[in-house]
Symmetry: C2
Subunit: 351 residues, 2 copies
DNA sequence: TTGTATGCGTTATCAG
DNA sequence: CTGATAACGCATACAA
């Protein structure tokens, strides 16, 4: 038996295809008893409408594309999950495409997605710095998440890294720490700079200097966390807290502090960044850290996208509207960069 | 301007829609010069065919559904990536759906996917044990990856955990270790049992006993790795190698060995399982481990699915075929469980 | 070699 | 309230 179509349902219910369609779509202009008959027939046949045909007519497919450069990575997944549950599973499905950081592949995927008539796109970059825009003249709304677009005319949703840095240091200060060091990753990452900026700002408010007299930039690895900690202890043995730019780095910090016999958190408190559960929750002791709220970022992206899609449709339908706004074809997306606040996660490494 | 359609292309090229279609689809029955004209017109307009319309006709959408219960997890992602690149980015796109372990949500997703007329399905479970089948009468081929289906009539692709356990112990033996312990996760996981079985088999071949006189089952956590190692060292201080059932556990093992001042790998060698890069590569020392070849598993799943889809189509087309086989509607999938071998990854923790 | 006509499964616009 | 009928964008058997 081939797939069951609306015709089969109509036939079983003894009505025309048109009536069956109206009945199932909740159109008011159909007698209650007829509607029941149709619905029962549909259930009996386990009918599910062919969304391809629907999309062809309504110009909406109920699909969005998620274009990422960081699949193996830790960032796109939470964003994807947030987006997925904001959309609602039976409303919208998401195409996941990984460009693996390759511009050519990205173009291919983009083409494929547009060809599939997705209603919108979410672009997730591999690192939190600005990335090239997909262009201004796309037929669907686009939202850049995690990595902002280089084009200020696009809408980007990013983590508030400055706020995150401030949050971490604030937490340490509230726990009575005064000699706070900052060990972080690659200095070419905007996120590293921003977190440091936030940390320094909070220290300055308290009239404090950075322990070790510098921000220790390096790489986003456990190994760097270890070697930086050794250097730090040599330069400033009295340090009583370390703010690590990532949980990986924090693990390296913990490792060396243990080697040196320094109690955590009594002697030195440690806080990380990312709340990467496998690293943070299993650390010894479990690691306090800053969570970027990526699921929320994903949800927000989905909501914005949804609004824009609805806007596109409405504006397309209301040709008689009096609106003189210069909204682009991609819908009602307010351009600019929105920022999502971080959240402190307290575990034992800060007491 | 709305999306450009084949009509626009035909018009610009000065031919009929039918001719334009044939030209673009590489049908032989069209003059070369005409074809060129059409192709140029298509490029000029940046035409891309509406796959919805195509799918409606050809009964193939060029999409597959990936139904997972483990999105945040480490397993579905490599599988997804393998599948993605086996399909080829411009041929097939994949819908990713996370059921989050909820049967209701899974049903919803399944319905949505079928309604979108995916050509096939890959189901990835949350743990390597058998999971309920989606059923036998689905209109598309289904492949179960990582978690096998409970129904032997389905096709499942799983990791060779027995072989993996054997591989790990074999590696230790080849490096001259004789007093080998095994610390692993939850005993209710088939994978834990299988890996232990493989390990024991290889030990038996060598006439060796397990150090500590037992398999240390517990949980898949670093904390368990630590406490089990302490118990182990107490019971059998002479142990010269540990095979950990996961990289997380291995990290815990390493931690305690360091605390006890036991050199790795000189005094005790350690090997993990999963090759979870963030844990294994950054360990001190970097951790040898067993890789489950999940990308390959994903590729294989994609290939099998592809073959089945082609089979479905061919068998549907050749109504005059002489085949008397009782192949199901879901295509030519050979039922049963296929096994993908593991791979040894050597780093410094085993010398 | 090219064009015409038909249909894929739905929704939407009309008459009845 | 219900039922023909025309799209939606494309592929294909058939006619020219």
């Amino acid at each position: 038996m081939g797939p069951v179509t609306l015709r089969d349902v109509a036939q079983l219910a003894g009505v025309s295809i048109a009536t069956a369609s109206k009945a199932l779509n909740g159109q008011p202009q159909v007698r209650a008893s007829t509607r029941d008959r149709v619905i029962r027939a549909a259930e009996q046949l386990n009918f599910s409408p062919n969304t391809l045909a629907q999309g062809l007519i309504t110009q909406r497919t109920g699909t969005v594309g998620l274009l990422t450069s960081d699949l193996e990575g830790r960032f796109s997944i939470p964003i994807l999950m947030g987006a997925e549950d904001a959309f609602g599973s039976d409303q919208t499905s998401v195409f996941l495409c990984d460009a693996r950081g390759d511009a050519i592949r990205e173009k291919h995927h983009l083409r494929a997605l547009l060809s599939r008539r997705v209603d919108g796109l979410i672009v997730v970059g591999a690192r939190p710095d600005a990335r090239p825009s997909l262009g201004r003249d796309l037929p669907v709304p686009v939202i850049y998440a995690y990595s902002p677009s280089e084009d200020p005319a696009d809408l980007s949703l990013v983590t508030d890294n400055v706020g995150g840095g401030r949050l971490a240091v604030d937490h340490l200060i509230r726990h009575g720490r005064r000699r706070i060091a900052h060990i972080t990753g690659d200095a070419t990452y905007g996120a590293a700079q921003d977190r440091a900026t936030g940390a320094l700002a909070r220290l300055a408010e308290e009239g404090l200097q950075l322990a070790g007299d510098q921000v220790w930039f390096g790489s986003w690895s456990e190994a760097w966390g270890r070697s930086a900690t050794r250097m730090l202890l040599e330069r400033d043995p009295g340090v009583d807290a370390v703010f690590a730019g990532s949980d990986e780095i924090a693990r390296g910090v913990l490792d060396v502090l243990h080697q040196e016999g320094l109690d955590i958190p009594q002697r030195v408190a440690v806080i990380g960044f990312d709340n990467w559960n496998i690293l943070a929750a299993n650390a010894r002791p479990p690691l306090s850290t800053i969570d970027m709220n990526l699921e929320q970022l994903g949800r927000l992206a989905a909501q914005r996208l949804f609004a824009a899609i609805d806007g596109t449709l409405r504006s397309g339908a209301s040709a008689a509207g009096a609106s003189a706004s210069g909204a682009s074809a991609s819908g009602a997306l307010a351009p600019g960069t929105e920022t999502v606040p971080c959240r402190l996660v307290t575990r034992e490494s800060t007491g």
